[in-house]
């Protein structure tokens, strides 16, 4: 082991967080070893966006029961299009405490979940970074301001390519160098007019999908199947956009099939000196050394590595002198959509409504109230309209026979559903830990147990208000609402927007990371994924993960340059 190189930085993970951090560090000339737990993914072999349901043996659903009982919110993700990409829970189980629910979506492979992500890219606003001091005195502020993060949003948007240029609205800033947004579908226009009658603004949706050729990548080809992987790299993924740039750099090394188990600390200085990892080909454990270690393995995996790195000096887990590691997990308040149809669109000729695989428009947060009797903060609304890959809401109507079939066909182009995300709150009682029952993963590494519930008072209250608002907007748009049931808020993780657990803060007693994503306890050890989040506004998470990772890596590079690490 004596001849092993000492890298400037080891980056753990190659997705949104690790990929961006590795890119920033390597393009600044630092030697970077990126360790990815999964395999290389080949878009030509692994992505099948243009296969139709009838091209698969089970029409895409898999053999009955093949994937086991999937946690809530995962059924649409793991299909015959994608089951070779995702980690299937029953094959690689995790523990959930009695009475708790957690939906943990994992992709072990280069690019991680950016291969199939939802692609929405809205910035957090000024109030979102300071919810306690600028909104309602509840929870905690981030140790950074919007103005401090804004330049990094600019960098990331330029790097990944984001469409949906907009003027922005209050507390919902929009980058000013974006590509144009996408054309709206018929139903989206109807919602826009309906919402505007109520004084509610509808804006272009920011998406990491190209509305024009950009950076050597072609404009979207509008097949709508981004969630199955893109064969033209027209949406951002770390695999398709960052890895090709990184591979050209001699100072960048990507090592796949390398599952990091622990971070190693130097006994004398207390600083990180490297990691141990397991080569999944042979099951052997190896060490790699570096001047700094950046964890971007995903919220859960980064926290798991820190817990599993416990030693005599830190029996509660590495970087956990505060005792808050694993705590304050968050997720959007999410639930079912309200289904409906537009009578004025019924019976029309069908159209290809795939577009960029998402809506072209959305409703940004408009509810700002100091009255916190019911719930805190706000929500965003989004809608899906038109002809989809299936019969739509008509199929849920009662009856059978020719009339039923004709009604499905009639309503098919008229389908609409509206849903949304509310701000999720951070509670210490929502936490993840190493399973006290001793569960280990397939490599013998202790696995996590979740202790989380989404069913808290605020979540029900904001849900009720959102249902009312969604109905009001549908009605104002001329839609007829179909019967639906009000359901409990979805489990944490169900939106794949899990965040927190190694939160940032100025006070080392109440937070794990400082304002530069450095562990208070070891300043050359960084966590740059969503584990760092302090709050969980209604906006999507990934753009902020990438902006914070960019910012942290930029700062680390400067520290390494000046020798202050």
């Amino acid at each position: 082991m004596g001849s092993q190189p000492v890298y400037d930085v080891i980056v753990v993970g190659s997705g949104a967080a690790g990929g961006i951090a590795a890119f920033v560090l390597a393009t600044k000339g630092l030697s970077v070893l990126c360790l990815e737990a999964g395999r290389m993914i080949d878009p030509g072999e692994d992505f099948h966006p243009h296969k139709m349901p009838f091209d698969w043996p089970y029409r895409g659903h898999g053999k009955p029961g093949q994937y086991g009982k999937l946690p809530q919110g995962m059924g649409w993700k793991i299909t015959e299009w994608t089951d070779h990409l995702y980690t299937i829970p029953q094959e690689d189980p995790y523990a959930v405490a009695p009475g708790s629910k957690f939906t943990w979506t994992r992709i072990r492979g280069v690019g991680g979940r950016t291969n199939v992500w939802g692609r929405s890219c809205d910035r957090f606003g000024p109030l979102d970074f300071k919810p306690k001091s600028l909104q309602d005195g509840w929870g905690d502020d981030w140790p950074v301001t919007y103005d401090e993060v804004a330049p990094y949003y600019d960098h990331v948007e330029k790097l990944i390519g984001v469409s949906g240029l907009s003027e922005g609205v209050y507390n919902t800033p929009c980058g000013q160098n974006l590509l144009p947004g996408f054309h709206a579908r018929c139903g989206e226009w109807l919602i826009k007019h309906g919402a505007e009658k109520l004084g509610i603004k509808v804006l272009p949706l920011q998406l990491a999908v190209l509305s024009q050729n950009y950076d050597g990548r072609p404009e979207c080809h509008y097949c709508g199947a981004c969630n199955n992987g893109c064969d033209t790299a027209s949406r951002f993924s770390s695999l398709d956009v960052l890895v090709p740039k990184l591979k050209k750099l001699k100072n960048f090394t990507l090592r796949t099939n390398s599952v990091v188990r622990t971070v190693l600390l130097d006994k004398d200085t207390g600083k990180a000196r490297g990691v141990t990892y397991i080569d999944t080909h042979n099951g052997q454990e190896y060490e790699a050394s570096a001047k700094a270690v950046v964890l971007g393995a995903s919220m859960v995996e980064s926290i798991r590595i820190l817990f599993n790195s416990k030693d005599r000096n830190s029996p509660q887990g590495l970087a956990n002198s505060s005792g808050v590691l694993g705590k304050y997990l968050m997720e959007h308040v999410a639930f079912n959509d309200i289904p409906g149809f537009f009578p004025q669109l019924a019976g029309r000729p069908t159209t290809n409504d795939d577009g960029p695989g998402e809506a072209s428009l959305y409703i940004p947060r408009y509810y700002y109230s100091k009255d916190q009797k019911k719930f805190q903060r706000g929500f965003r609304l989004q809608f899906w309209t038109g002809c989809g890959e299936g019969p739509g809401h008509g199929a849920s109507l009662p009856g059978f026979g020719s009339a039923y079939k004709k009604r499905i066909k009639e309503l098919y182009p008229a389908n609409v559903s509206i849903g949304g995300y509310g701000e999720g709150l951070a509670f210490a009682s929502n936490y993840v830990e190493i399973d006290p029952g001793g569960l280990k993963d397939r490599y013998g590494i202790p696995q996590v147990r979740f202790h989380t519930t989404a069913e808290y008072d605020h979540a029900f209250a904001i849900r009720d208000y959102m249902y009312d608002e969604m109905e009001r907007i549908l009605k104002a748009s001329g839609a007829e609402i179909l019967p639906y049931q009000k359901v409990n808020p979805s489990p944490l993780g169900a939106v794949t927007h899990e965040a927190g657990g190694a939160r940032m803060g100025d006070d080392p007693k109440t937070s794990v990371l400082d304002a530069w994503n450095r562990c208070h306890d070891a300043k050359n050890l960084l966590v740059v994924d969503a584990a760092s989040f302090v709050s969980h506004p209604e906006k999507h998470t990934t753009l902020t993960i990438m902006a914070m990772a960019y910012r942290a890596a930029d700062h680390l590079a400067e520290e390494l340059r000046t020798g202050s690490v």
């Binding site: 043996p57 018929c186 989206e188 226009w189 097949c223 002809c387």
Partner: protein, 210 residues
Amino acid sequence: MTDEIIGRRKALKYLSVLAASAAGQEFLAAWLPAAEGGLPAHAPHTTAGQTPELGSTSPFSPKFFSPRQFATVETLTELIIPTDDQPGSKEAQVARFIDFVVFSAAEHQPHLQEEWTEGLALLDKLSREKHGHDFRDLEGSEQESLLTEMSLPENDPKASHPGFAFYRLVKEMTVEGFYTSKIGLKDVLGFQGRTYLSEFQGCTHPEHQA
């Protein structure tokens, strides 16, 4: 190498389980014309097990259902999504898809097989009680009338019917089988997506945008 193996994991898992038994070999031979009774050379991207649609000339023999049961399943699917001025379950061979899925449920979801077997027996029992014959031997109007009775709780949450759960199972799998078939999804519904477009125009109707 390892990457290739992982990439084929799903297909290999599916094929190897079937190939392990004599019945499975026969099944594969029927469903994989190119395989000639063996395993296809390119597992991940073949349409292994794909439900044949039109053009299958050889007589079909169901793999899970008995011929009598299968005739009932055909009748049921054609009642749910009939052939009218547009093709229906008959043309899309929805009953064959259901037979394929229920057969394949043996490995991970055997209770689906029980639900079908017991459901079909219940259907005949209800049919004999009401009309004196097994379901498939009834007049079309009698079949429709019994199915309508079984469906009543869909319209009236206070109603109940012993055949309702089976009705829902038949309806859900028929709707799924039909609207995921080429005939159902593309020809009848008119789905045009999952393809390359040079541009996306969105709404082209001034009356919606005004």
